[in-house]
Symmetry: D2
Subunit: 116 residues, 4 copies
């Protein structure tokens, strides 16, 4: 399975199965899951907090760092998937629709190399 | 496009195009993107911080709340996609592999309705 | 030393000494410290993410939980103190002035038991 | 009032009065307050997410940026104070005791200009 062949629908099902096998659904409400996404996002950030921007790019050359970072990103995603399950959100539609809004908010010709 | 038909590869490409049209790649390094994921995760959490767990589930019945929450989840995802682009991470593989690790760490028979 | 007798000025000095004894000042810039505050805030939150609101109050009766939580709150504060040092911020003045602004933003008579 | 003359005990009382005037104590439990600290920490971080480390130091020269950052730091502190109130934590003791632990964990002679 890879980003080219896997689907978010299938990943959401896999996460739901993981949750249901442990009867964790009562804990996985939107409030708790928003906390879980945020705590895992902080763990990803922890890898980078004392690094310069250049050093953060350079971890691409370290397989141990990359493995740790892939795992942290996966932790964030697991809770994103469970959050989407808890509120029946289509993640792909949400992203596609937000990219349209963002393109209007940040017109490319006015935001060349600028973010405000 | 929906979670059943869209692919993470296609979503990653769409996000990369958005970044490149604005020449934002110099800002989108792993350090900055980890901060961006965490700040958007906090914005999602902000919707729920004064709600009870039950109230957080009940937003499913409010379309304005749902629209806001879908947008926040999309913001998190946009930066997750850009983070994956910046370090060439296959998100699907990372999730599938983490679910296997988590299944070993939390055997279903020992973690029925328990999370520690 | 206690909250009644200690001063934020003295705590800021103690934190600055800790940083300087390790020559960590080059790492302790506002960007990195904002990441550090946020990661420690997430570690505090991690203690509560699967608990109900009532259960979170009940940890007051568990000394091991309280010790862990005091340590996490202290970690947040250490980086708040270092952040204030890095930008020469008077924390007390900032809080007193923000409480005045918040009192105007949330008039007590309009926000009885309501937060929006 | 300044960091030299104000006390954390007095600041905690001021925050408690603010909460009580609005009858917000039912919302201000440890779980919700940990979320609130984390969301405010993310708002502080948002000021810095696209800046380099050097640029983050340079905001010291911009009064509008400094005012915004002081307000965000104060928001974090207000919820730290309320969290301490909710669990009857002496913040000063917690910090002093954590600095002793951290000095043992990071001996100055082994961590010169290094953080791991």
């Amino acid at each position: 399975m890879s980003d080219a062949t896997d689907s978010l629908a299938s990943l959401k099902q896999a996460m739901q199965a993981f949750v249901d096998e442990r009867q964790w659904r009562p804990f996985h409400d939107p409030k708790n899951l928003s906390m879980a996404i945020a705590t895992e996002a902080a763990e990803l950030m922890e890898h980078f907090r004392w690094l310069t921007n250049a050093e953060s790019r350079a971890i691409a050359g370290s397989e141990p760092d990359m493995q740790a970072v892939r795992d942290e990103l996966a932790d964030i995603m697991c809770f994103v998937l469970s959050f989407a399950n808890s509120l029946n959100i289509d993640i792909s539609s949400a992203i596609r629709s937000k990219l349209v809004k963002n393109a209007e908010k940040y017109p490319a010709d006015k935001f060349q190399s600028r973010f405000r």
